[in-house]
């Protein structure tokens, strides 16, 4: 069980309010991702849930019980830190066994659980090594192992993959998703990586300056961003946001259209411009189009084989059905 409810939670450091009153419910077994720009309070929120910081006002409930003043160890949550925070003088086995030793389990049970975690995470080859003798990915696994042996009500991850290289990150991302499918335990995951958020989450919470901007499934956020901030934040490359006469023509203040929803061709579209930089990724090509008369650069995604080059004049066709219209207040219009 691991249903976590935040009720009008606030947090101030001195007289700086980092988290204004915030309500959020995380359902049991859900994989929730917190995203937001740097400094928006993701880590702070996670640490409030963990109990490593005291909340200034409000209430945190875990499975319906008030946990606001329960010390971290007794909340039944396990945290995986960005720096892994392994105990450097203990072997991998001792690291993983540490929470169990603290809980005074008997040795047979400790051994059984450590073996279990080691086999789930493929740690067996280096179980007697010290953390200093492991690679980043292996350390990450040990940190996760130390979290799962406790059989917590929920896992908290604070940017666990940001110290890994790109290839390893993809691998670990899959492993964590896999683990979630297998354990069916609540997981809260902080990241500022778009792809991690989109691929892993059941539910994404977009934060800005401590405010929740929108909560929803990855596709909900992608299809119907509630405001300009979410529209610009979710999706890579960013959504094109066009204001001025072209937006007014569509009856809104700002018109949003994603790069993948614009067709680029030699001629025939309603908009036209000159190709600037093109980024070839192999499967896709991103063109940055200038001089469209839409008052900014437009980014367009095309197939990898589309062969326009710098300085070519091209024509653009946006898909009318997936345009996003935002009002002067920045909110989505119907």
């Amino acid at each position: 069980m691991g249903r976590i409810t935040l009720d009008k939670v606030t947090k101030s450091f001195g007289d700086v309010e980092v988290i204004p009153p915030l309500d959020l419910t995380i359902e049991d077994g859900e994989f929730t991702v917190f995203v937001g720009p740097s400094g928006c309070g993701k880590s702070t929120l996670l640490r409030l849930i963990a109990g490593l910081e005291d909340i200034t006002s409000g209430q945190i409930r875990i499975d319906g019980n008030d946990a606001t003043s329960v010390p971290p160890a007794r909340r039944g949550l396990a945290m995986v830190f960005q720096s892994y925070a392994l105990y450097p003088h203990m072997s991998v086995r001792k690291n993983i066994a540490f929470p169990l030793r603290m809980a005074k389990l008997d040795q047979a049970e400790i051994d059984r659980r450590v073996e279990g975690a080691a086999s789930v995470l493929n740690l067996a080859d280096y179980i007697d090594r010290k953390p200093g003798q492991l690679s980043g990915g292996q350390r990450q696994r040990v940190a996760i192992g130390r979290a799962i042996v406790r059989e917590p009500a929920a896992f908290l991850f604070d940017e666990p993959l940001s110290n890994l290289d790109a290839a390893l990150r993809v691998g670990m991302r899959l492993e964590i998703s896999e683990l979630h499918k297998r354990l069916e335990t609540t997981m809260i995951y902080v990241t500022h990586d778009q792809v991690e958020a989109m691929t892993m989450a059941d539910k994404i919470v977009v934060l800005r300056a401590g405010h929740i901007e929108q909560v929803g499934s990855p596709l909900e956020l992608y299809r119907t961003p509630r405001n300009l901030f979410v529209a610009g934040f979710i999706g890579s490359p960013r959504m094109n946001l066009i204001s001025g006469p072209e937006a007014e023509k569509h009856g809104c203040h700002t018109l949003g259209i994603r790069p993948e929803h614009i067709e680029v061709s030699a001629e025939g579209g309603p908009w036209s411009g000159v190709v600037g930089v093109s980024e070839h990724l192999g499967s896709d090509t991103f063109f940055h189009i200038h001089d469209t008369g839409l008052d900014e650069t437009i980014t367009v995604r095309a197939d990898g084989e589309v062969g326009f080059s710098h300085g070519d004049r091209v024509s653009l066709t946006p898909r009318e059905d997936v345009m996003h219209r935002f009002g002067a207040d920045g909110l989505r219009m119907a």
Binding site: A50, L52, P71, P72, A73, R74, L77, M79, L86, R150
Partner: protein
């Protein structure tokens, strides 16, 4: 030092320092060795030629030798225990955010800057004097008979004085070590269910082990040769005659350079045994 080239380059660059140090130490060492085999009484006939191992035999068979070794070990051991234990506590305390931290830190470091002779004099006259000392006043305030510290509790007094001098050193080294501890490790331990005391035992203390061995190593080397504190306070009486002090007495009070030199050679051997022993511990500790 990974490659052969870098190893030999390192050797070459270290050579001047090594040669200088060797010369620096070899000259006095050879002179000590030389005198230790001679009968040399400056005021009673001067240098009277070779005596073989006579000085060595006389030094260890003298009734003062074993008590001196014991006194040395007791002082070194006592000071080490006190400075390391209190040093760890103080370091943890000073690491907590508190009001006036900068000033408190300077105050804690201050005793280290006081010369041993001066600090021993201050302790002897201001604190431990049986008539006018601060301790005597405190004792009398509680209606107790003032202790004449330096004669009745001579060993503890000297250990106290020397500990007071070396505590800042231990605290300083341990404080920097504590500050290098990743706070996420403590938070992880807290989440893992370790209360404060267990966090100290399982996380902080192992983290400090390297710094503690370094403190022990450096202090031992310096403590084996303390002299001023004893000279100023008890003058080697009341069972506080250490090996260093015994050598001093042999050379200057008995005017027997040969005998004193032989004692010096013993002291060198003792220091080397201790150093070897400690090097192995430190080596083992620095490996991981």
């Amino acid at each position: 030092m990974a490659t052969k080239a870098s190893r030999s380059a390192a050797r070459l660059m270290m050579a001047p320092a090594v040669i200088l140090l060797l010369g620096w130490m070899l000259v006095p060492l050879t002179m000590t060795l030389w005198f230790s085999f001679r009968r040399y009484l400056p005021l009673r006939g001067g240098d009277q030629g070779w005596t073989g191992f006579d000085n060595y035999v006389r030094f260890v068979t003298s009734s003062a030798f074993w008590p001196a070794v014991q006194a040395t070990l007791v002082i070194v051991g006592g000071v080490l225990i006190i400075t390391v234990c209190l040093g760890v506590l103080l370091a943890i305390l000073l690491d907590q955010p508190m009001w006036g931290q900068g000033i408190v830190r300077v105050l804690v470091i201050a005793p280290f800057f006081v010369m041993p002779t001066v600090s021993a004099l201050v302790w002897k006259n201001m604190f431990m004097d049986p008539v006018n000392g601060l301790f005597a006043h405190v004792w009398r305030f509680f209606g107790a008979e003032p202790l004449s510290w330096l004669s009745e509790a001579s060993m503890p007094s000297i250990i106290l004085i020397v500990s007071w001098q070396w505590l800042p050193f231990a605290t300083l080294i341990l404080l920097t070590a504590i500050q290098s501890l990743d706070s996420e490790q403590l938070e992880a331990a807290e989440m893992d269910g370790a209360p404060k005391l267990k966090q100290f035992w399982f996380i902080i203390l192992p983290h400090l082990s390297r710094a503690i061995t370094i403190v022990i190593l450096i202090q031992t080397i310096f403590l084996l040769s303390i002299f001023a504190e004893i000279f100023v306070t008890t003058g080697g009486a009341f069972g506080t005659r250490t090996l260093t002090y015994l050598i001093f007495q042999r050379v200057l009070e008995s005017q027997n350079v040969g005998l004193g030199s032989a004692g010096g050679v013993y002291a060198i051997i003792l220091a080397n045994i201790v150093a070897l022993f400690l090097m192995r511990i430190v080596g083992k500790n620095l490996d991981n």
